[in-house]
Symmetry: none
Subunit: 232 residues, 2 copies
DNA sequence: CGCCATTGTCATTCAGTCGTAACAAAACAC
DNA sequence: GTGTTTTGTTACGACTGAATGACAATGGCG
């Protein structure tokens, strides 16, 4: 966090909030980018993919949720964590937000303290991937630059979807994700795929990890979803 | 909340509001301290640092905002959550308040019910269950993000219903719940299930806690129901 | 074009979990 | 003490959700 300055994009139409957040972010040693609506956001993202996006729920034109969904569809932005800014009373819509693959929520009005805490929490969670794009966890190593997986020194052959799934898991370990969330994060939002398909790819992922006896890392949480965890 | 009485400081110049709030707080089992202006507030805080501060926006002399800022600077009071009381129409100024690190807002006129709800929410957030929803009690840890239970570092295998039951207990400890209440809270209202079913799940919960010798946390209150308590 | 890898879906099998009833044990009232 | 009420415990059938394997469709590549 201290070494590499994180870039945060704020998508918010109210300039007062935007300025406040930008000020707080800069004071916390992050680089603040901003956009007033979805269209502007997309152009900003086009120039530089931010490390995290703060997204207002209600936006003129395309809504925050729609933008989130769109971002999840794009390979370039699929992995960028999104924190939604919602007004009080909109919390009831949480479900649809989580379904869109949003990482967290902050309800307005919020303190900059809370916002920063959430940002740090999400980044910690999403962390793992260092500068070179190498994640190492539970005896596995994913090199996203080389697009390869290693177990120790031994390279592991893995299919494209299983690779993305594993990569997502390793950068979001110790947390349950529903099938729907996995579809959003790994497949990209708005894709028309059966939820049960996730099961199959979990199976395939486990099968490739089996000969390395690393299949126990992918855990089933009955009634909830799946989890990647280093503790049995 | 029930064990340790929380001290709440009300900084408000209108005595009518002050009294009403103080009355509501005491009825809710909290200790109310009060001050009419910033200077008085600081002297009260000097004697005892409260667990939460209710701060009027407009105060004679130093404004609430300034006081909040000052409290945030002091190491002793930096972590004390602050809820701002604002008159309607001042909401536009929210931004500057949020920047001062205020945790929440209540707009006058407010109901004591809403105020209490906000107080509890802020306390839950800043104190016990915060950020990702980790509850720790009696040597057990429930991580709702990971959907997991730990005893120390050791993960505990637990079924879905037992998990929900334990989670409810740990977030509502030191209090008896009837079987009917447990059914409402853990099973969800409108489900028709025999009351005695609760017994069975209590049994199952105890069984999974037994090998950790944590089963004594789940206590029977004859004629009333069950209770989760850290004291034997 | 034919081959192979990969993908999504389905049907089937499997395993875990649930609620209930039945009986044993404990606590209580008298 | 006895009788009654309340709770503990176990076993079991029904059910749900997950694992698995097979299959057809797709698409890249030589």
């Amino acid at each position: 966090m201290a070494l590499v300055q994180k870039h945060i994009l704020i998508v918010e139409d109210e300039s007062s909030i935007r300025d406040m957040v930008a000020f707080a972010l800069r004071k916390a040693g992050m680089e603040a980018m901003h956009a007033a609506d979805a269209r502007a956001a997309q152009s900003v993202i086009g120039e530089r993919v931010p490390d995290l996006i703060l997204l207002d729920w209600m936006l003129p034109g395309m809504s925050g949720i729609d933008l989130a969904r769109r971002l999840r569809k794009d390979d370039l932005t699929r992995e960028v964590p999104i924190i939604m800014l919602t007004a009080r009373g909109e919390e009831t819509d949480r479900v649809s937000g989580l379904d869109a693959g949003v990482d967290d929520y902050v309800v307005k009005p919020f303190s900059t303290r809370e916002l920063l805490a959430r940002i740090r929490a999400v980044m910690r969670r999403t962390h793992g991937e260092d500068a070179d794009g190498v994640v190492e966890l539970g005896g596995l190593r994913v090199d996203s630059a080389a697009h390869r997986v290693f177990c120790g020194e031994q390279p592991v052959h893995i299919g494209p979807t299983e690779y993305r799934l594993l990569h997502f898991f390793m950068t979001h370990a110790e947390r349950v994700y529903t099938r729907s969330q996995l579809l959003d994060h790994v497949w990209g939002g708005g894709v028309y795929v059966e939820e049960r398909t996730v099961d199959v790819h979990i199976r395939r992922l486990r099968k490739t990890l089996e000969p390395l006896s690393k299949d126990a890392l992918v855990q089933t949480v009955r009634g909830a979803g799946y989890r990647f965890s280093t503790s049995v």
